[in-house]
Amino acid sequence: MGKSDSLGQFEQLVLAAVKKIENAYAVPIQAMVEQVYGKRVRFASVYTALDRLEEKGYVTSREADPTPLRGHQPKRLYTITSGGDGALRDSYDTAGRFRELFGANPWESGTQTKKSTI
């Protein structure tokens, strides 16, 4: 798809969580994104990201059978598609090249340089 359909940072995290979690649904996805992101993440943002990813064809969803654990309410489970996997891989590769460009941790060395000059 076009340039406008590249993954945003938050979408990357949500898509990575969908790929990583088996039988992914909103609650564990939010927990994983919050853990990786290191900031509070609203469920509303997760639902919006999942909607967008589904609209782009990067994830598919299905309703699981209702279970007594959830008061006999079905869950919506998400699965990554081949298109989504490709987009995530592209993002991963770009992040790798970015890392190569700057080295392991450019900010750490920058701080050291600053300290040494002082």
Binding site: A26, V27, P28, Y47, T48, D51, E54
Partner: protein, 267 residues
């Protein structure tokens, strides 16, 4: 004190539960299964504040999808047949939207020219000029007039027909090529056609402010109405253009997911 606290907690609990129940009822029907976790998870998703935000976001997304039809094609992971129907309906709406937009642009051009005095030398160029320029600008991202469908053939199954339709739609919406010269021409035509919507209202406003009324029939409310109409059309032009691009991308995705037309049926 202890008793008072307990009552307050009970009250909060009841209020929270009431808000949560009301918010759950307001969730769009197709997203109810998204909210909340298993009982043992004590999920944050069921808290009143989270639920209210979720309701607002979900309805906003739903509204946006109805305003941008291609986004609804893959939404909800529908079965293949539903997806095909949605794609066909989307193309029809885009085709209709393009024609209606051109008609509305023509109507605005006519309304704008009414602001000029009859003897003005600008009358003819500003009546005949804008519409062809806009048509050429639209032609850059809508490469056909009329939604020429694919004729039914007894030798073609529905998937094969759908594949051909997708090819046809992609060719109309998104040919994937990029030419710097064409991009410059396209940008120039788009800028000119948008500017022409505002040219006469701005001219009349300047005359008004210099206390020179162009025509006796011109009123402030008429000029303001034309500004509003032009602003609406500018927004719609940008939106239709973006929607066409999104649709082209999604049709391409669908085309890639289909088997190639030359694949034997028993493959």
């Amino acid at each position: 004190m202890g008793i008072r606290n307990t009552n307050k907690e009970k009250h909060d609990l009841t209020l929270g539960r009431r808000i949560s129940a009301a918010a759950k009822r307001l969730l769009p029907a197709d997203r109810r299964s998204d909210v909340g976790g298993d009982v043992q998870e004590t999920s944050k998703a069921s808290q009143p504040a989270e639920l209210i935000l979720s309701v607002l976001k979900m309805w906003w997304n739903k509204m946006w999808r109805s305003f941008c039809p291609p986004l609804a094609i893959l939404y909800g992971s529908p079965p293949h047949e539903v997806k095909k129907q949605r794609a066909r309906d989307t193309f029809k709406s885009l085709d209709r939207a393009t024609v209606l937009f051109i008609l509305a642009y023509g109507a605005l051009t006519y309304l704008n020219v009414l602001l000029l005095p009859e003897e003005s030398p600008l009358q003819f160029p500003l009546t005949a000029g804008p519409l062809p320029i806009m048509c050429i600008a639209i032609r850059f991202h809508w490469k056909s007039w009329g939604s020429a469908g694919i004729s039914d053939s007894v030798y073609m199954d529905d998937d094969e027909k759908y594949g051909k339709e997708l090819d046809h739609w992609i060719a109309i919406l998104w040919d994937g090529s990029f030419s710097p010269a064409q991009a410059m021409l396209r940008s120039a035509l788009e800028a000119i056609s948008v500017m022409l919507m505002y040219l006469i209202p701005v001219y009349v406003t300047v005359q008004f402010s210099a206390a020179q009324r162009a025509s006796a029939e011109v009123t402030w409310s008429g000029v303001l109405m034309r500004y509003a109409f032009a602003a609406l059309l500018t927004f719609l032009f940008v939106h239709v253009r973006k929607t066409n691009r999104i649709a082209g991308g999604i049709f391409q995705l669908e085309r890639n997911a289909l088997k190639p037309l030359s694949t034997p049926l028993n493959a």
